[in-house]
């Protein structure tokens, strides 16, 4: 049967919503929901949860590139069929979890995973680096200032040992967003990799009339940098806009509203690094990530500057932070001046806020440390 374009409304079903979750529960989950008592990470990537019924579930966490093929998912299903009664799940950070209901079943599963070479790395638990939450980049989106999957691949290659081990002071959450829209939680990550533009939008006067509502484009700019303008196109005066480049901070919101204002550029675009965000309420309240490296170039295909920057921060953190201390908690304890020094990151005025709530970030005390910054 299938869809009949001649009668598009016939037999149409809608508003079904997602399938009910329960039908996908592995039996041990179904039997023990709400009864779990405690858990233990028995080795990196392997969680054991103990139920008050005495049952145990072992979850084997596997890193995935997220951008995966139909074939890949089928292979994952093969593994789940072989070891997990045909069930599996994905975590909130795009890892795969294979669950088995006894300890004995763990090693055979691990062996199967290992048999695929580096395709199914086990890890991402506890005080390590788990999967990088990321976005579309050049694979799909229209506004990116960098790629997503490629940068993630390059960074994870370098941090691989942190994924498969638990040697850090605390969990480290890395996220990537390819533009300031920040699809994901880049604004609250231990280490955030953020695509940024640095050139103001161009105005495509030849197309603007058809594709933009000028008042919306003008209103879109948080800094009022977009102004109405009259220009000549093919000898005819048309209504368009102009950009006061002095006031532009390259957020791209005008482009979101108006396709005739592209701002992407090979040299202009690149990556900023933000650090010290967190989401959990554990010990300290959620924190925003803070901009510490304003720009690194889009050096394809492996973004060596970005990879090294992330690694350097991670190593400095690993060497210096206390047990349980998240990156942001560490930076606040030692002081940001010391953070820049310990991470060997040159401080630039770009890290100084000059947006709306900026004053709250100025140092209004004479408490400070003497670091190499003071000449």
């Amino acid at each position: 049967m299938g869809y009949n374009p001649q009668k598009p409304m016939e037999g149409r079903i809608s508003d079904l919503g997602p399938p009910h979750y329960e039908q996908f529960f592995p039996p041990v989950i179904k039997a023990n929901k709400g009864k779990w008592l405690w858990h233990e990470i028995t080795q990196p990537g392997v969680l054991m949860h103990k139920s008050e019924t005495g049952d145990e579930v072992y979850s084997i966490r596997v890193g995935s590139p997220r951008l995966v093929s139909v074939e890949y998912i089928r292979e994952v299903c093969d593994i789940a069929d072989k070891h997990c009664d045909g069930f599996l799940r994905f975590t909130t950070r795009n890892n795969i979890e294979f669950m088995v209901d006894s300890k004995e079943k763990v090693q055979p599963l691990l062996d199967t995973l290992a048999s695929y070479g580096n395709k199914y790395p086990v890890g991402g638990t506890g005080a390590g680096v788990t999967n990088i939450v990321h976005t579309q980049g050049w694979v799909h989106c229209h506004t990116p200032a960098t790629d997503a999957s490629g940068v993630v691949k390059a960074v994870m290659d370098e941090l691989f040992d942190y994924f498969t081990s638990m040697t850090l002071p605390a969990q480290v959450r890395i996220a990537l967003a390819c533009c300031l829209n920040m699809c994901g939680a880049v604004h609250a990550s231990d280490i955030a990799i953020l695509g940024i533009h640095r050139k103001p939008p161009m105005i495509d006067n030849e197309r603007i009339t058809g594709v933009c509502e000028l008042p919306l484009a003008i209103a879109s700019c948080p800094l009022g940098a977009v102004k109405p303008a009259k220009v000549e196109v093919d000898g005819k005066e048309i209504k368009s806009v102009k950009v006061n480049v002095e006031r532009c901070m390259f957020c791209g919101n005008c482009y979101t509203m108006c396709p005739a204002m592209p701002l992407a550029d090979p040299e202009g675009d690149g990556i900023a690094i933000l650090v010290g965000g967190k989401v959990s309420n554990s010990r300290t309240a959620p924190k925003f990530s803070k901009l510490v490296i304003p720009f690194l170039p889009n050096n394809t295909p492996r973004w060596p500057e970005t990879v090294q920057a992330v690694k350097k921060i991670l190593v400095a953190y690993a060497n210096d932070a206390h047990k349980y201390e998240r990156v942001g908690e560490w930076a606040e304890r030692i002081g940001w001046e010391r953070f820049f020094e310990k991470c060997d990151i040159p401080f630039t005025e770009k890290s100084i806020d000059d947006y709306r709530l900026a004053y709250t970030t100025w140092r209004t005390t004479v408490q400070f440390k003497y670091t190499s910054h003071i000449k």
């Binding site: 079904l16 399938p19 858990h39 995935s64 995966v68 229209h142 691949k153 295909p301 349980y324």
Partner: protein
């Protein structure tokens, strides 16, 4: 066999982390359009700029969301991705799947799409990456008829809600995040599929303050489990921890030698409210001072558990930085019961109150958190009928700029300047 040379992307096939390039290449063997994905991406790697055009409104009939339109700017060179729309398929709560279900979905996508996916999108959907306009309706037909499944959200509507794994596999969940997420998703199918809001709106459900679905950072309504009685303590287990018989933090730190476990240093001293102490070999908590940060429970999972009188805190207004800078959600309801027993009544009532108000006063493309900022928190609380309490704020205002209302001030605002001047010559 490669349709395009990809010398740059090929360099992403080395290294220990699984390679999406290798995966794409393998898929390209049976789905040749994947060559064009590789080709256009390679070109982006060369040009260091995206080759996708701005937007494009496509969809399935009767839905205002669920599909993101996308066209290549080099359709001639890469005809396989000329149209490259993504489809957002609503994921099941907690993202458990049967392989049967996944295989069926993959078969559909092999038939109607590019063969590439994201498991999952950042909001939580299954993202099916790239298909042509003419495939959308047939895919949707098969998805609904053959699988009984549905699209997720995009556009100015309720986005696909998401939740942490919750009670199904976590001992700390203070309400059933899966059921809450599923129930609300089903309740609001219309709001998900037919945009009627000023802008997007997101729900996320975490079972405890660890917030494993990052609700407080990225959802307009963040429902985060908590409790209002005392942390449950198993003193025998405390002793085992002290003796070093149980690994601290569930073994999360076992990769490094952090020395012998020290309850004073690792738990008591790190409690942000300083409400814990040891007494006669027992761990004591002054629960009324506890802010339920979870740290002690995280470190001693076999000894401590959230209290038994459980529910959730509801926070409102998180969003990404554009335009005013990022916002976390703000605590609005410190504690409500969140349970299927009453069909999530309290939560639903609150959500709808927020919506009614925001749909009325929210400007175009203004997230509810921005509307809150614009009108001010006191006004927001008052329109919500929520009594202002100190729990709504980190600290009281430090400026003295209070908006007094006329009815609060004895004698009102109207005065007669002549009468005033009679007593106070200028």
């Amino acid at each position: 066999m490669a349709k395009h040379e990809t010398p740059l992307l090929d360099q992403l096939e080395t290294g220990p982390w699984p390679s999406f390039v290798t995966d794409l290449k393998r898929q390209a063997e049976t789905k040749p359009e994947c060559w064009d994905i590789l080709g256009i991406l390679e070109l982006s790697y060369k040009d260091r700029i995206t080759h996708w055009k701005h937007g494009g409104i496509v969809g399935v009939f009767g839905y205002g969301g669920g599909i993101v339109g996308r066209y290549a700017d080099m359709p001639k060179q890469f005809p396989g991705v000329e149209h490259f729309h993504t489809i957002r398929v609503a994921q099941p709560a907690s993202k458990y799947y049967s392989t049967a279900n996944l295989r069926q979905l993959m078969a559909l996508w092999e038939k109607h799409g590019s063969g590439m996916t994201n498991f999952h999108g950042s909001t939580g959907d299954i993202i099916l990456l790239g298909t042509r306009t003419e495939n959308l309706e047939p895919f949707f037909w098969d998805l609904t008829h053959d699988m009984g499944q549905d699209l997720g959200g995009s556009g100015s509507n309720l986005r696909t809600p998401a939740n942490c794994i919750g009670m199904s596999r976590c001992e700390w969940s203070c309400y059933d995040t899966e059921e809450a997420c599923h129930h609300l998703t089903m309740t609001y199918q219309d709001e998900i599929h037919r945009p009627a809001f000023p802008y997007k709106f997101k729900f996320k459900f975490s079972g405890c303050p660890n917030d494993c679905v990052a609700a407080i950072a990225r959802s307009d309504i963040s429902v985060i489990g908590t409790w209002r009685d005392n942390i449950r303590i198993d003193q025998a287990a405390v002793k085992e921890y002290i003796a070093g018989n149980y690994p601290s933090n569930g073994g999360a730190h076992s990769g490094r030698d952090w020395g012998k476990f020290d309850i004073e240093k690792e738990v008591i001293a790190l409690c942000p409210t300083n409400c814990m102490w040891m007494e006669g070999g027992e761990l004591k908590i002054d629960d009324k001072e506890c802010t339920r940060c979870m740290h002690c429970i995280n470190v001693l999972p076999r000894a401590l558990r959230p209290g038994a009188d459980q529910g959730a805190s509801v926070c409102v207004g998180a969003k990404a930085p554009i335009l005013d800078g990022a916002q976390f959600s703000t605590l609005i309801l410190p504690f409500i019961k969140v349970t299927k027993d009453n069909d999530f009544e309290e939560l639903i009532e609150f959500i709808e109150k927020v919506w009614d108000w925001w749909m009325e006063v929210g400007k175009n493309r203004e997230r509810v958190g921005e509307t809150m900022q614009r009108v001010g928190l006191p006004t927001f609380l008052s329109v919500m009928g929520v009594e202002p309490i100190p729990q709504h704020i980190k600290e009281p205002r430090s400026n003295p700029y209070v908006f007094w209302k006329e009815e609060e001030v004895e004698g009102g605002f109207e005065r007669d300047i002549r009468e005033f001047r009679a007593r106070h010559a200028a």
